[in-house]
Amino acid sequence: MAQAMGFFTDTTICIGCKACEVACKEWNQLPAANGGANTLSGDSYDNTRRLDGIHWRHVKFVEQFTPDRSQGRWLLMSDVCKHCVQAGCLEVCPTGAIIRTEFDTVVIQSDVCNGCRDCIGACPFGVIDINPASGTAQKCTLCYDRLQVGLEPACAKACPTASIQFGPVADLRKRADARVSQLQNAGETRARLYGADDKMLGGLNSFFLLVDRPEVYGLPPDPRLPSRNLKSSSWLSVIGAVVVGVAGLISFRTRGSRA
């Protein structure tokens, strides 16, 4: 297997230009709007609003303002599929449409997916959605087609501030650690990495540098695999089946009148 490739997204230098969103849409031929209908968020300058089947990159505008808007700050973050080392979507997919590639990334094969949507509920980050054009679940492929010919993903290529950095995950982690140290030495003590180590789902191949709690950015504080519930849920059902069976046996048995 080739070495694990991924993204390091440094949110502190994102300027919210959305060049990554546009580059992603252009390269992957994603429609600009769902069925041609432009929808505005109405409460933000961010009209993309969330990742879904036709938005595989999304620049989040976290607008932290006082009610009179005299004080405030913008937190900007280009969100994307995390390409988890332990991926919930890949785990539950019943058709085998979701695969792990030689770059340790997670890709949905659109020609295999039948649109059951199990992966959507299983993803801990709310990344996946149905692309209405194909009727299949879709998300960032980390530009698998570009990686196969030695190109970097379109979003990283287009990012004008190097907020999105692409490369071998091991190298990216070193770069990210250095950047956190730099920020903390400069007085930004809230700087922290999200998903860079293997404690979170075995490691996120697409990880982030944040300057606030994860939930402020719309990221789950403790993402976990959906299969955590499988064993206990199954055993409880088995116990339930035994109890129902015994109750049935007692209710329906006949004393000495069997044929």
Partner: protein
């Protein structure tokens, strides 16, 4: 400040009415087969007509379930991708994916439900080929069909709850009790439907079903209380119209009132059991509505 549940940061899979009906009818189909098998294996001759009725209910409902699931896919013509790998045509099976195991279980359950259905038609003399009656107990083949189909029936009635728990959605992924609740509810709604149909045909053995359903309703109530407790802070999502529907529609109308009506029916032998059974069915349906839509809307 404690961090919010991570399940609140996920996206809904948009499983709506087709899935709600599947969960409801699948529970009845699986439960009906289980009850038919239990009556066949442990009941007497007087319960045989009710057992036949159970099999006559289980198979058509299973067919409807398959159609509902297929229609819910965004690419319905690719339904077979659940069973076969689309490129190699090798079997597609993931033991750790409830949807994958459930697809196979539903197919196999459908097979046994079909056998039992044929056996029932033959026994009822609605079918010329009387040899098919061997698919019904007490013969070895009939016992095998009843036992294997019954085990699969348990699975079909309960795996849907496990499937929901093996997601990261609020409520669903915050508890491990949904499989248990759906399984009990499946047995309860199946008993209610059979009791309802049995009353109409004045069949013997209906009171045994009512006794059984009373036990199921008590178990369901206990399991529901445990479910709410297991949700912890996420249960706040039910401080809404969904919580009201759960309390009024599922607990009061679907459990407590039927329990009283069954008690009266068993005591006086009157027809209040009919109303009880109808309410149990409505409550079982509302249970699925609340569980699914409250999470979908979160």
């Amino acid at each position: 400040m404690s961090a919010p549940s991570s399940t609140l940061f996920t996206a809904p899979p948009e499983w709506h009415w087709l899935i709600i009906f599947y969960f409801f009818l699948g529970g009845i189909a699986g439960g009906a087969y289980v009850l038919g098998a239990l009556m066949d294996l442990f009941g007497g001759l007087q319960q045989r007509p009710l057992a036949r009725l159970a099999y006559l209910v289980a198979f058509p409902l299973t067919v409807v379930c398959g159609l509902l699931l297929t229609a819910d896919l965004r690419r319905p013509l690719r339904f077979w991708h659940m069973m076969l790998q689309s490129e190699t045509l090798r079997p597609m099976f993931k033991a750790w994916s409830p949807m994958s195991v459930g697809s196979w279980a539903l197919l196999l359950f459908g097979f046994f439900a079909f056998l039992a259905f044929l056996g029932t038609l033959a026994e009822d003399e609605r079918w010329r080929w009387r040899g098919l009656a061997r698919l019904r107990p007490p013969g070895l083949l009939g016992v095998l069909v009843a036992v294997l189909g019954g085990l699969l029936g348990f699975f079909v009635a309960g795996y849907t709850g496990v499937l929901l728990s093996v997601t990261n959605r609020p409520i669903w992924g915050d508890t491990t009790l949904l499989g248990l609740v759906f399984l009990i509810s499946g047995a309860s709604t199946a008993a209610a439907l059979l009791a309802l149909l049995g009353h109409r045909r004045a069949m013997t053995g209906v009171h045994a079903l009512e006794r059984f359903d009373s036990v199921m309703l008590v178990l369901e109530l206990v399991a529901l209380i445990a479910l709410v407790v297991s949700l912890g802070g996420v249960a706040r999502l039910w401080l809404s119209v969904w919580g009201a529907l759960l309390v009024v529609g599922v607990v009061v109308l679907g459990i407590l009132i039927p329990l009283g009506l069954y008690r009266r029916s068993l005591r006086f032998g009157d027809a209040t059991g009919v109303a009880a059974a109808a309410l149990v069915l409505a409550g079982g349906f509302l249970l699925r509505v609340v569980i699914i839509l409250s999470s979908e809307g979160a």
